[in-house]
């Protein structure tokens, strides 16, 4: 295609070792990126920087910030870095993603219902019983209890990456009230102002119904015998890193934002203190972790919870979203079983891939792992936080031998995965004033209520701003992009 001379994207350097979302190998933009590349190339660098600065100011004024924690320091409030170049997902590609994410979350919800009731998947030896019962996230308080409508994961955030082969892979499931959706909506608001004409032209799907849909979903799981439920958002407070999101969602849904201390439980009912006296609360979208929600039941030292909340919940007088005890299904060890979980409950093949995993306890897998350590990431199954992980390409010959010895001494303890390469996307880098390829991932948001589900048509595309960095978390210097799903 014909491009004006000196377009701001002309200097973009393709890196052929990664999958580029925007450009073909010939450096021509992919079809769904044509109009945005054309549009950007019409701008001079100074025009682009001006728009960029306007957007930043808008973020600052809206107070869209997050806190970074370091020991012995006050939390550092930062603006969430935002990149003007949107990530675009064509309609066909999105349909596939959407079906895959819904399928996965439906299966996980059935899995939670099963492991807290009949436990058939454990008896059929599809998932090892010990893996579940020894998990600290498996809560006895949930055993034989059925949450309203049988829904455990009202809100889930499924993280995906696109590998060098152009395929999407599931990176992880987030089932404990995942955050990020407020950035999706704010990003859209910021970008739509500067690129509104392209929106219409490309028939981009809207993301604005999310708060309304969330409210609807919460209403579907109201306790029995309640007509018009009182719904609240419970936040740990203004020092929480996601406090902006808690207040944003409460405001957009038009429901009160409260802290644990604003609520109390009497005779197994939950009440909110108001200037007109106590008001009964029926549905709680809680952004406080399981172990802190009720000091009578879980951590006694929790100042964030409501004493007696679990008793009210178990009496069926209040609904918690998400249900307590969902964390058992998003742990690293369970991730590997999700494809089997999908087949077991839905009798369907998984639509989206898990990252291929080799279990060293299986003889054939072990053989493969020992022969290919240089190409694999080896992880101990029972450690978290990245401890004990070795990445094949970074190992010396001696280190490879060491890892082999370690695996052979305790095969059950190790799994291995191919080294996944995240796709890259053109991103404006302020230091060089140029667009450069940067790694991205995608968090999708899926809502599930009684006989209904909703998936946000879009998501949070996180981008690793440091060159070569694979970590996209905001606390690690990551930023985000608006994500356009085409109609």
């Amino acid at each position: 295609m014909k491009q004006p001379a000196n377009g701001i994207l002309d200097s973009y350097c393709l890196n052929n070792s990664h999958y580029d979302e925007v450009f073909k190998e010939s450096k021509e933009p992919k079809e769904h990126y044509n109009s945005i590349v054309e549009r950007f190339n019409q701008l001079s660098l100074s025009d682009f920087e001006r728009i960029n600065n306007e957007v930043k100011t808008a973020f600052f004024n809206q107070g869209i910030t997050f806190a970074v924690y370091a020991e012995d320091k006050k939390p550092d409030e930062r603006i969430f870095p935002f990149d003007l170049f949107p990530r675009i997902i064509p309609s066909q590609e999105w349909m596939h993603l959407e079906q895959g994410v819904i399928q996965r979350n439906k299966a996980i919800n059935l899995f939670l219902d099963d492991i807290y009731h009949k436990k058939l998947i454990l008896k059929d030896k599809v998932v090892p019983a010990d893996l579940i019962f020894s998990s600290k996230n498996y809560l006895k308080e949930m055993v034989d209890f059925t949450p309203e409508g049988g829904i455990y994961t009202h809100i889930s955030g499924t993280d995906l990456i696109k590998h060098a082969d152009g395929q999407y892979y599931i990176l992880e499931d987030n089932l404990r009230c995942p955050s990020g959706v407020s950035y999706v909506l704010s990003n859209r608001l910021a970008l739509k102002k500067s690129l509104f004409d392209l929106f219409d032209k490309l028939k981009t799907k809207t993301v604005y119904q999310y708060p309304e849909q969330l409210l609807e979903i919460l209403k579907t799981v109201k306790p029995k015998n309640v007509d018009a439920p009182t719904i609240v958002v419970v936040t740990p407070g203004m020092y929480n890193s996601a406090y902006f999101e808690h207040s944003f969602l409460a405001q957009k849904m038009g429901v009160p934002l409260v802290e644990g201390r604003d609520l109390f439980v009497e005779k197994d009912f939950v009440y909110m203190k108001t200037i007109h006296g106590p008001k009964r609360v029926d549905v709680i979208y809680r952004r406080v972790d399981d172990e802190f929600i009720d000091p009578l039941c879980f951590r006694k030292d929790s100042m964030l919870g409501v004493p007696g909340l679990m008793s009210a919940y178990r009496a069926g007088n209040v609904t918690l979203a998400n249900a307590p005890g969902t964390g058992v299904a998003d742990d690293k060890a369970v991730y590997h079983y999700v494809p089997d979980i999908i087949k077991y409950y839905l009798n369907e093949e998984p639509i989206l891939n898990n990252v291929q995993t080799y279990h060293c306890e299986k003889e054939s897998d072990m053989k493969y792992v020992l022969e290919n350590i240089g190409k694999l990431v080896v992880k101990p199954v029972d450690e978290s936080g990245g401890y004990g992980i070795t990445i094949g390409t970074t190992l010396t010959k001696d280190q490879i031998e060491e890892v082999k010895v370690r695996i052979k001494s305790n095969p059950r303890k190790y799994i291995a995965q191919p080294i996944m390469s995240l796709s890259v996307h053109a991103t404006f880098i302020e230091e060089t004033k140029e667009f450069e390829p940067r790694h991205i991932d995608l968090r999708t948001f899926c809502l599930m209520g009684k006989d209904t589900e909703y998936i946000l048509k879009g998501g949070l595309t996180r981008v690793a701003l440091k060159r070569g960095n694979l970590i996209v978390n905001s606390s690690q210097g990551g930023g985000s992009k608006d994500t356009w799903v085409l109609g």
Binding site: F133, E266, L296, K300, P307, G308, S311
Partner: protein, 281 residues
């Protein structure tokens, strides 16, 4: 049938006034095929209607939410209980090997998982200097449990205030002293190591002088013996539970059966006294 009268009393005094409090008490005797509650009375420093709810294991708990300042909280429960007399000697209709096989079947373990997987308080340390009896299916399970009961009774010395409710087994084994919770947790831990479902029981004991457990709440263990059901073992007294054991509740460990838990908004310390009397006149 035998009838018992029991009284439980607790009083907490606070150095500075409590602004707000939630109390949860697990002290009401259970109703089950072996015991009936004939009469139950409560009185409390708070002149409030009492609210009962059921805990995770289905036992009745007494709940108070107090939002007006107070500096003292007391509660008294009195009850009349009818106990069925039992001869605490059991013979399983199953052969020892069949009992063993059943206990080791995956379905059985999954159905009883809450009482087979360790909690923090029933965790055995990685290195132990004692060789606990091992259940191998040679003896009937009941016989094995009698041996274990005696072993733990002889291993530990009963010593009030040597431990508290959070003392881990590791420490109990080092000092070889403990109170009824410690005997119970250790018994449970050995059972679970041997894949035998075991649960913590709290209750009242009426044994007269010379037995430990009178004058306060007591703790023992119930074990699931196939075909026989949950049978109580009291390692503190080297006994099998009979009609003198009045059960309140069971759970995975002490924390499921704490007689009183309070979440308070206050500063400063508190003094607590409690007493238990059980008589059979």
């Amino acid at each position: 049938m035998e009838e018992f009268y029991l009284e439980y009393y607790i009083a907490n005094k606070y150095e500075s006034p409590v602004r707000k409090a939630n109390f949860q008490l697990v002290i009401i005797p259970d109703s089950n095929p072996l015991q009936r509650v004939l009469d139950l009375k409560f009185s409390c420093s708070e002149n409030k209607e009492i609210h009962l709810s059921k805990n995770v294991f289905g036992f009745e708990t007494i709940n108070y939410y107090i939002s007006n300042p107070f500096s003292e909280f007391w509660f008294k429960l009195s009850a009349k209980i009818q106990k069925k007399k039992i001869n605490p000697f059991y013979v399983s209709p199953l052969m020892p090997n069949d009992e063993f096989e059943l206990l080791h079947s995956l379905d059985f373990q999954i159905d009883n998982h809450l009482f087979l997987w360790d909690t923090q308080l029933t965790q055995m340390p990685p290195v132990v200097n004692y060789t606990f009896p091992v259940y191998s299916g040679e003896l009937q399970l009941f016989e094995y449990l009698l041996q274990l009961n005696t072993f733990i009774f002889q291993l530990l010395e009963y010593s009030p205030e040597s431990t508290d409710v959070n003392t881990p087994i590791e420490e109990v084994l080092q000092i070889r002293k403990g109170v009824c919770q410690d005997y119970a947790h250790l018994f449970i831990s050995v059972c679970r190591k041997n894949k035998i479902p075991a649960r913590y029981v709290s209750g009242y004991l009426s044994q007269g002088d010379g037995f430990i457990g009178t004058g306060q709440l007591h703790a023992w263990v119930e074990v699931l013996i196939p075909e026989l059901g949950w049978i109580g073992f009291d390692a503190t007294n080297n006994l099998v539970a009979d009609h003198h054991y009045i059960k309140i509740a069971h759970g995975t460990d002490y924390r499921d059966c704490s007689p009183i838990i309070g979440v308070l908004e206050t500063t400063g310390s508190q003094k607590s006294i409690h007493s238990v009397t059980v008589t059979n006149q």
